[in-house]
Symmetry: D2
Subunit: 457 residues, 4 copies
């Protein structure tokens, strides 16, 4: 079967132009004028863009004997509903667990994904075994390794381990990533605040201020520099971390920063909401920051010092959040966002004049595809690319509401905000997942995307 997207304006990271697109066997096979096919999707008045890639999600993430609420089915469906055709989850071995064994678990639970996905592997402990298995993980199609500098006593690794792992990444052609917060300081701050009687969600933000993120970012960069390897910093939320990244880049280092749509749009006043549930639902790490940081993040996307917009989608239900009802350190960390990332970014970024449509494509799809070494299979509208495509209607509006969302949780941190710019169609490898605005994603359609190692640095 040949599907044709007709009458739209193709928007790539480097240019915009009018052309039709023909799709066969999951791939883009032709781009040109006046194409015809078995099935025609009308893109008149629309931008036709590479489907979004969200490189930072946690679906069915194990947590205190339960799991984050959205699984690969609901999570990828939410993504597709918002124009995101691929997600990258984090495989999290327990300390002591084989990376390979953990990976099997992740493959097992992603079977019903509606859209394509990949995994980053987390290095949560260190040993000869981990060192050896990292090569096997690369051979299995995973070229990125995540390191937590926070979550002391759980996922956190120390500087020694970071340095060893980063050197290992350099040797096997993999990209190290960090969650950058100083875990020692956070843990002490948490105890101090609890001891002072501060137990509510506002304590969460107080225990991990921007200084703590800026410091860890700076430290990870130094260690990457010593190891001679690029670095990807997830969820860059503040000027202090951004400054460290800029400073490194100005020395010629290859360091990437990933603001989340939440940090671009929301601020820490949310934690002072008198409604405990409201505040707790916004608890994530790093926390929302004061508004001045938003200017920094937007400018980073404009200047190219920050490259990727993600979500860290990790949704917990109201009940799960209430685990921390009398102790903020027990509130599960995470918010949703998968469905809202692209409409929110278009609304706040493109409609305001901050970003061009081409830059929107770059930061939602093309840049991360290049960084993760899956370009132009993903992240591109080119002949031969996977037909992961969103037909974007810049006039279509809606008000975000948990009532109408795909995520299984009962609330939404963007609840009540109006967005203008939404998918008319979303295609996952040529198959419609959004049809004229209606979500029709197919569980199990999604496939694991292998990512080849990088050449020598």
């Amino acid at each position: 079967m040949r599907t044709v997207i007709k009458g739209g304006t193709i928007v790539a990271a480097d240019r915009s132009y009018k052309a039709d697109i023909a799709i066969e066997d999951e791939k883009i096979v032709q781009i040109g004028a006046d194409l015809s096919g078995d099935k025609v999707l009308d893109a008149e008045g629309c931008y036709v863009m590479p489907g979004g890639i969200d490189p930072h999600v946690h679906l069915k993430m194990p947590f205190m004997g339960t799991h984050s609420a959205d699984d690969f089915e609901s999570g990828t469906r939410a993504g597709l509903a918002g124009g995101t055709t691929m997600v990258v989850d984090f495989c999290l071995p327990s300390p002591g667990q084989s990376l390979l064994e953990a990976l099997e678990g992740w493959h097992a639970k992603s079977q019903r994904a509606c859209g394509d996905y990949s995994f980053h592997m987390a290095v949560t402990w260190w040993s000869e075994q981990v060192f050896e298995e990292m090569q096997q993980v690369v051979d299995l199609g995973i070229n990125s390794f995540k390191h937590f500098m926070a979550y002391k006593g759980a996922l956190m690794v120390d500087d020694d381990e970071l340095f060893d792992s980063f050197q290992r990444c350099a040797a096997i052609g993999a990209l190290p990533m960090v969650h950058a917060e100083n875990g020692d300081v956070v843990a002490t701050m948490q105890q101090k605040l609890l001891a002072q009687g501060i137990r509510g969600p506002e304590g969460h933000a107080m225990s991990r201020p921007p200084e703590v993120e800026g410091e860890a970012t700076n430290r990870a960069i130094m260690i990457a520099d010593m190891a001679g390897v690029p670095l990807y910093v997830v969820h860059t939320s503040c000027e202090q971390a951004h400054e460290a990244i800029r400073r490194a880049r100005q020395k010629g280092m290859r360091v990437y920063g990933e603001p989340l749509i939440q940090h671009l749009v929301l601020d820490d006043s949310e934690y002072r909401n008198p409604d405990w549930d409201h505040a707790a639902q916004r608890v994530m790490s790093p926390p929302f920051r004061d508004k001045s940081n938003q200017d920094s993040l937007w400018a980073g996307l404009q200047a190219g010092s920050l490259q990727v917009v993600a979500t860290d989608h990790c949704a917990f239900t109201i009940d799960q959040k209430r685990t921390g009802i009398d102790d903020f350190t027990k509130i599960p960390n995470g918010t949703g966002g998968l469905e809202d990332r692209m409409p929110m970014l278009w609304t706040e970024g493109v409609n305001t004049g901050r970003l061009t449509p081409n830059e929107f494509v770059a930061v939602t799809s093309t840049n991360i595809a290049r960084i993760l070494n899956i370009y132009p299979q993903k992240g591109a509208i080119l002949e031969g690319s996977d037909a992961d495509i969103v037909v974007w209607d810049p006039k279509k509006s809606k008000v975000i509401s948990p009532e109408t969302q795909q995520s299984v949780v009962e609330y939404n941190v963007f609840d009540g905000r109006e967005v203008t710019g939404l998918p008319r169609y979303t295609l996952s490898r040529g198959t419609l997942a959004v049809d004229d605005g209606r979500v029709c994603a197919t569980p199990g359609h999604g496939r694991f995307v292998k990512r080849a190692p990088f050449g020598e640095v």
Copy 2:
């Protein structure tokens, strides 16, 4: 006729891949595996890249009753010999002269160009007439206006005029450019140095230190910001100017910086050469800087805070240079570089690991094509693009020498340096200008490239 480039690796700004290219009627008509054609160019072992674009040249530039030595024929031939398939010259109206009249003169003298070319229009004076003619200039296919903040009493305009002209650019969809040095300070420094008896080429560098460039860059950026228009800073030569550009970009401004290959590779020790001719041949503005600035410029290309590598090719003969034999202020400003830009940048940038081949393409061709709004007609290997292509042999070496160069001047600032990485073939709109390393450019083949105005900012 159908020409096919076979067996090479296409290197674009965003990716590298193996494919053949078919060319018909001056355009790329097909990209794919196993193409055939009437004529086949063997690209085995080569990178196939968009031809270089040098956005900053002065060919047959009027000067003290004579002209810069390379004209459009020898200049564009030199470019093609080094893989550069398009140049942009500066149309320089005399103060009081109609822009349109000046433009006619520039069209007249470019008739024998071997490769494609365009013009920037200089705003060298200000009046209602200039204000009006700027729109006509845009209508004639020129979307960029150059302003000199130095050369007091000649080309220089003051802040008032800059602001008026920048606002005019904003209104008509044009991009303002600046030569950024504080002309008042330079003029005073020159007089002071002459009064102190410093008359040799070393005085040239002393009269225009990096501070003077940094200041003017900062000032132009502020004025562009007030006018609400992007800014292109030509020949960014030092950390101080680069810092001003970075600082602006970190606020979200759209400011572009253009290092020259000379400033990336050569330094101010050249002016202390005891041979007057040697030193005088290196006199250009801004002058070569001390070595520490080179790190800054390279890092800018790596980080994306600087986007384009140019030459400011403006060659003068030994005799012309000697006009300033006893007064450095009379030495004609300018050096060559058109033939050497790409081989030198490949050698010092790619072979050293500073830049990837994709970044090389970005900074020599694709970025400037996008900035000047001629992408993807130029700067791209895409179906439909002009067949301006260089087949780059990364193993081919030579030692740069005036004996073997295309430029008509008798010396070369890179004389004696070995480069590795040279064109096997250069094609200008499908026509061979370098054939297996042999220059065979055709005078008159080059055409003026119209550049459409920008949409609303």
Copy 3:
């Protein structure tokens, strides 16, 4: 007669210690324990500090055929009431006028000053005569020359003149000062805003944004650097100017910045007050800035990158302000502040923990005395120093109100703010000007303070 200040804690820029002070013949003659004298001032519970020096005031400044409202009598009385024992006014020759002639005028109108004073000389035009007279001005006890980079068509000088004058300063041991705003840009912005129909006080702030000040500061610094002379930047109001100063200092340059108490405490929301009079009364240049700049200025005082707090006291009556009732460019620029500088800075700086009492003394008195080369005659509590002393009661409070102020104008930009920390006594060369909180200053008591030139730089 011997006056003794008993029981207080002496606070100097470098230390605090308990001691009494004995005064004879206008000088401090002894510092020690248990001193006795003819007259005793009780300083129990008080800090005894060097009287404040306000290096930036405009008393009876000529303006559109009239004068700023406070003259040397009311102005210096206001100063003394607030603990300021010396002011430095600006002698402003008309373009074309002899500096010496202008200076005579300034001496004439300062005869009834209640406290000591000095003058900065302004360079408002340039010629051989100005060049020559600058030496004579230095010989007459003035070692600082002010330059206006704004007020186009009136006081403004261009870069050429700046450079010439700065070089002259270097040669004669004088300190150049600048009012740093880009006058060309301001003038164009004013015309543009008026043309758009913006005629109210809000237009004042819109016509001279921080960018315009940052640029001019950066430019003046470069010119001072070329001239090899230190630079004093008056009324540094924003991060952008502060950044330029910091950047210069980090290269080892001797650049000083002077925030005003107004910019430390008030912000640009005042210009959006619907009451035209309220807004117009706050019109000064640079205008109040958005709040984020205040953090930058306070941090500058803490870090030492900014050294002096002044007022730019230039008070106009309600009627005078109304000259600009339908055109913001005609509103006379200036606000009061002389009486409030020290209490406001103590309240917002010391009582909040931002500054130590020693730092308070440094930024209100000692630093500027050193910069202006009158230390330790002024700015010090040392034997031999002039007995310009304030006995500061840190517990004394009041609410600022025009009803109770010394200035002759009918309003006060700090109206309604409570200050804690006020003079119990102020002594001008040993004579009481504030006696137990009651103002008793003597017109004509003030004397001109000669300032010797600097040694070789």
Copy 4:
């Protein structure tokens, strides 16, 4: 007995003036014109300055079963010979050892000191006992606690311990100090280099590049910020650490940086000296840096972003150094400098025009006296201050040589350099230690100087 210093120019941190000084009972009792006394020291043509304070020395420091070569006698004699009248050593408890017990040991070995001294206490391990003893240490006259972020497995403490100790410092009015290098990274780099066969002194510098110091400095600053306490960074050797300090100060934090005279003057080319002994004798941590860092350090002293010049005097004999003959990690870390600090700084700082004589006094004496809370007992020429005075002859020259030095080691890192500016007299609490250039220091004359805790921060 009354000693009078006659005819000199007193140079304090804030001013220079001609006056005589009278001394009785170890104190300055009078400053004024034409003083007379029992004994007169001729200061004609000299500057009379507060004796230098070196806040960073290691005398008889325990090391691998032996000690650093200079003890309190030879070390303080060296200091006095060069104008330094007080040193501060580091009391280093072994991990597990009581702070109080260690302190007794330090008191015991300092009995023969020729000049005054104090101690910083090191926090080399952490426990309830250490927490409690810190208060007792403060009560015993020590208000500063040193923390090592390097020397893994020996003195190093981790971030947790830093944070706990910094908070404790805040509570008890003490100042935390750090040796800032990332010990984890250094240890790994050392192993890596040894594994690569790099065993010579050049490996020392390679194992601890500026990045490693910059990172640790940045981290310590963040932790101090969280703890709400000022921070003193010892031996700031590079731009990267200085940048972190500047950045903190620009946010209003109270952070101090201490360059060493070695880093101001010497560079890392020393480690490439083919003579193993020459190179090994320069091994210290942080190592000498490339020359570009020197500009940064000098500018810091000029701008006030760095405040103190020290030596980290820790001298080892040739034989001791040879412990590391086949393994750079075993070369004892340290160089001398106590005798040379002031003459070298005067020569390279004042004679070159970088620093004024007042700034020289500030950075060698007054600033650290204020930071350590012993001003004006020390660091001042004031009535009541200890008579620690150097009469400085700015014309006196010598060539530095181990032959003529006071230190017991056989070499000198400044060997062969000519200095101009040397003590004519040095007085330690009124007693001559240098008499007309001849060293006559008295062992046992030196006394422990108690330092009171700071008030609330």
